[in-house]
């Protein structure tokens, strides 16, 4: 895999060139709900076809390329809908793809290694899933509908929810994934299925990274944007 080279990204950059060099962008495309087959289209063309602002798209693109964004953001209310869809799609990816995939890897390792630590790791993961489910459900039940009210211009001035409640509540959900990686790399000895362990570690790392990006979008892009709107 090629290393990401910091290249200047402009609205006229051809997206397929970036995706070829940076496969992590495939997931970003999926979260945006975009078709992977982008022909020779530029970022500008893709954004126009899909009603996503160029600012938002480049912002998230930079996040997926560099792990953080530095520029001052100039997002508007129109960015809320693609942002919420992005977050909803990533919830779907965690729930329906990554979490079950990790579970399958663990189950297979447990089948091959009947030792207490690995059996406990399975239980640890189950407990984690309950915790993370609470986190996702909270967002779906309170945060996303609140943003939808902004999008639909339906927000009452005495809305019982405010983004500050969410800001305070927003907790780190990738930490336990890192704990599992630490346990698997440093402490839990396996007798068999080293390939299974490697696959599990790769899946854990992938989900850890996307959870990080997910939280980054929420904390550093969505919340500031809403606070800005609330203060107007």
């Amino acid at each position: 895999m090629k290393k990401t080279i910091k290249q200047s990204i402009s609205p006229d950059t051809i997206l397929s060139d970036l995706i070829l060099d940076n496969p992590q962008l495939l997931l970003m495309m999926e979260h945006f709900g975009l078709n992977i087959v982008v022909h020779k289209d530029t970022i500008r063309q893709i954004c126009e076809q899909n009603q996503i602002s160029i600012q938002l798209f480049i912002l998230i693109l930079q996040l997926y390329l560099y792990g953080e964004v530095f520029e001052k953001q100039q997002l508007t209310k129109n960015d809320l809908l693609p942002l919420v869809n992005f977050l909803k799609n990533s919830h779907f990816y965690f729930r329906n793809e990554k979490f079950p995939e990790i579970e399958q890897h663990i189950n297979k390792i447990v089948l091959n290694n009947n030792t207490p630590p690995i059996k406990l790791l399975k239980q640890f993961y189950k407990e984690y899933l309950v915790e993370v489910e609470k986190h996702l459900t909270y967002e779906e039940k309170y945060v996303f509908p609140y943003i939808q009210r902004w999008i639909d211009n339906n927000k009452e001035s005495n809305d019982s929810f405010s983004i500050n409640q969410y800001k305070k509540r927003h907790t780190d959900i990738e930490y336990k994934i890192l704990e599992m990686k630490n346990l698997l790399i440093k402490h839990i000895e396996l007798e068999k299925d080293m390939v299974g362990r490697r696959k599990l570690l790769v899946s854990l790392s992938e989900v850890e990274h996307d959870l990080y990006l997910h939280s980054y979008v929420e904390d550093n892009i969505l919340i500031p944007l809403i606070i800005n709107l609330e203060n107007r």
Binding site: L120, Q123, Y175, K186, H187
Partner: protein
Amino acid sequence: MRKEVKISIAIVEPSDIIFEGLQLFLNKTNKQIQVSRFENICTLLEIVENEPFHILILNPYFAQAEKNQFHRLQQKCSNSHFVAIVYQYYPKEIIRLFDDKISITDDFATFSSFIHKLVDSIANIHEGSTAESLSEREKEVLIHIASGLSNKEIADKLCISIHTVISHRKKITEKTGIKSRSGLTIYAISNKLISIEHSFYR
């Protein structure tokens, strides 16, 4: 090749004889050590933020007479190893505020082996090694965590303050990369510190 980490030690000891003796012994251990002396906890607190020490050797008098200052020091130096230099009787609960103790009656061999072990374990932490680098007290706290006790219960059991328990937990997390009780329990079982039957997973 292993890189020698230069270990910094702060000594808070009013007696010149004891301090000079300590320094002489430390020099004789042939470890890369840098020693600084402080009159009291206050003067140490002033600089400790900018200049953290690996090891703090204190006369337990300070833990007894300047309780609040001592707590602040523990808070600020949660990564440092606290060693009591004991030459008169102190109640157990005072000594337990420290990670380790050395006694004025220790001969050089005992002292030297203690310092060697301590310096090596600190060097290990800096290299990211784990299991062996937990101190005996940290292992004790870990076992209680894994058996399902709360911070308060651990504090009562070991006759230490909740704050000290929390500071041990912080150190354990730094050394192992694991914070949650479930994760620490798996760590303890993997490293054979506790059996599954005695853990809260039983």
